[in-house]
Symmetry: C2
Subunit: 346 residues, 2 copies
Amino acid sequence: MRLAVDVMGGDHGCGVVVDGAILALKQNTKITRLFLVGRQEEIEKALRERKFHDERLEVVHASEVLAMTDKPVEGLRRKKDCSILKAIDLVKEGKAEGVVSLGNTGGLVAASTIRLRPLPGVDRPGILTVIPAPKNEFVLLDSGANTECRPIHLLHYAVMGNIYSRDVLGCKTPRVGILCNGTEENKGNALTLEAFKFCKQVDIEFVGNVEGHDLFSNRVDVVICDGFIGNIVLKTVESFAKGLASWLKSELTANPLRVMGAILAGGAFKKIKKRMDPDTYGGAPLLGLNGNIVKAHASARDVAVMNAIRLASEAAQSQINQTIVEAVALANQRLVAAKLIPSSTP
Amino acid sequence: MRLAVDVMGGDHGCGVVVDGAILALKQNTKITRLFLVGRQEEIEKALRERKFHDERLEVVHASEVLAMTDKPVEGLRRKKDCSILKAIDLVKEGKAEGVVSLGNTGGLVAASTIRLRPLPGVDRPGILTVIPAPKNEFVLLDSGANTECRPIHLLHYAVMGNIYSRDVLGCKTPRVGILCNGTEENKGNALTLEAFKFCKQVDIEFVGNVEGHDLFSNRVDVVICDGFIGNIVLKTVESFAKGLASWLKSELTANPLRVMGAILAGGAFKKIKKRMDPDTYGGAPLLGLNGNIVKAHASARDVAVMNAIRLASEAAQSQINQTIVEAVALANQRLVAAKLIPSSTP
C-alpha cells in the first residue's frame, strides 16, 4: 500500500501531521511507502527532531500551500506547486493509491476532481462522514463537496454510501434513506422528490425518506443529502455535542457534591466521549474519484491523522472503487430503462 | 384576550388539551375568553369529568378532524367542518385574537394562510422555533412551513424573527444570520447568496452567514433558512438530544457506583433537562399572518398546551403583527431602492 500525506494546511502545523504519519507507519505494516508532501525543509526538520527514520518514508517537496482562505479553483490556478496538488499527482502518476489532506476542503475536492476525474459513470464526488449514534453508526453524504446537487448525484451517493457502509464499515444490509422534512413519499423539495424515484429503481435497501428524528434512533445507516444540507447537519451535531459537553461540565463542577458524583460516574462520561470522539474516524473519504482521497479535520492531531491514513488504506484495500464503478453502471442502466434519465446521462 | 384552542388532532386525545386549557385559565388572568374547538360531546365530557366550570370557556362544535395523514390542502377541501378551520375562522370573524393547534402542521399553515391571508407586504408565513443553547437561546425560522423558499421569503423571516426575538423574547439587539455551509460571504447556494444581499439592506444586526458550528456557541440569536432545512435541523437536534439522554441514562445505570454518582450529581442533569424541555416553549408561532397562530407539538401534554396558549397570548399582547407590517414595508422599500426587487414585488 502506497499512500501520500499532504502535511501542510492543518491548523497545528506540519509537526502533528508528521507525528500521525509516524504512528501510522508503526501500526500499519501494510503501508509499503508513505509520501510526506510539503515544504521539504520543515518536514525534514520535524523528522530530525523526532529522530525518526523509516525506509518507507519519502519526502516530496512542494513550495506552496493552499490556505484555508484561498478560493479553491482560483487558488489552485495561482499556486501550481502547492502540496495538495502534488500529493494528488502522486496518485495520478500511479505512485500512490491514496491521499490524506487536512487542508482546504473545497481545494481538495476541486484538485482531486480536476486531476483524478470522477469514476466512470459518476458525475460528482461526495464527502462521506461517519456519525456515531447510540445504537449504531450512520454515514452522511454528501457532507459538503457538492453544494448544488441534481437528483442523479443523490442517487450516486446512495449507491456509493451503500457500498462503503457494507464493504468498509461491515454493515451487512445498510438501510439507505434520503434526508427530508418528513417520511412520507410526497414530502420533500424538487430535488429529493425526484431522487426518491431514482433510488426506488436500484439494488439497495432503500427505506425512503428519513427525517431528523430518525438519525439517532437506529433507523438508517446511509443518509443521503446535498452538500449544503449535509454540511449544516454535520456541523450542527458537532456544535450541539460540544456545547452540551461544556455545559454538562460546568454544571457537574458547580458544587462539591456534584463533583463527587461526577467522579463516581466518570466511566459513563468517558465511554460516551470516546465513542463521540471525531479522532476515532480521523477523516472523511471523498467518494467517486479515481483514487482514495481522505479529508482529515483541519484541527486533527497525531491520532486523528493516523486514523485518517488508516481510512485511506482501508478504502484502497477494499477496492471499493471497482465495486462502485460496477454498481453505478448498473444503476444508470436501470434509470435509463425506467426512462428517468436519457441514455447519454450522466 | 380572546383565544381559540383546536383541541382535536393531538396524539393523546382531547383530554390533555382540555387539561392544558384549564391550567391556562387558572394562571393567565388576561384571558377573557377561551374557545375550545372540536367535537362538542367529547369536550363537554372531558370538562364534566374534570368538574371544571369557568365563565370564560366556550365550546365551539366542529364535527370533523384533519388527521395527521391527511394531505393539507386536499384534506381541508374535503373536511369543511374540521376543528382547525373552525378555530381559525373565529380569528377571521374577530371573535378571537389567536389560535393554538396540535394538529397537522401543513394543514394549520394552509388553513391559516388561506383564511387569514399573510400580513400586508409578507409573501409567506414561517414557523419560528425557540431552541435553547448553553449560553443563550436562538430562534430558527422557517422550521417547516415553506419548503421551497425564494430570497424575499428569507428576508422577511429575518425581519420577523428579529422582531419576535426583540419584542417577545426580550433579546435587546438580536444577531441575525443566514444558515449556510460556511461563514464567508461567497459561501452558500443560489437562495442564500441572494438572500445575503437582501439582508444587508435592512435595519437588523445582520451577522452574515452562520454555519452549524455557530448555533450552540452564542454567536447568533435569529437563524434564517428555508423550511426544508429548518425542519431537518430542528428534528436532528431533538433526535440527538433524545438519543444522547437515553444513552447517558443507560451508561449511568450500568453499575452501582455510577448509579450513586448519578444520584449525587442529579441536580446537574435536572437543570439541563429542564432547560432543554420542549414543554417550556410549548409551541412554535406561525409568523406573518393576520392573527396569532401557534403550532403545539402533536405530542404536547397539559403543561405544553398551557405554555402554547401563553405564547399566543404574548404574541397578541405585544402586537408584533403591527410592528412586522411596518418593518416589512420599510424592508421592501429598501430592496426596491437597491434595485434588488421590482417595485410591484412582493
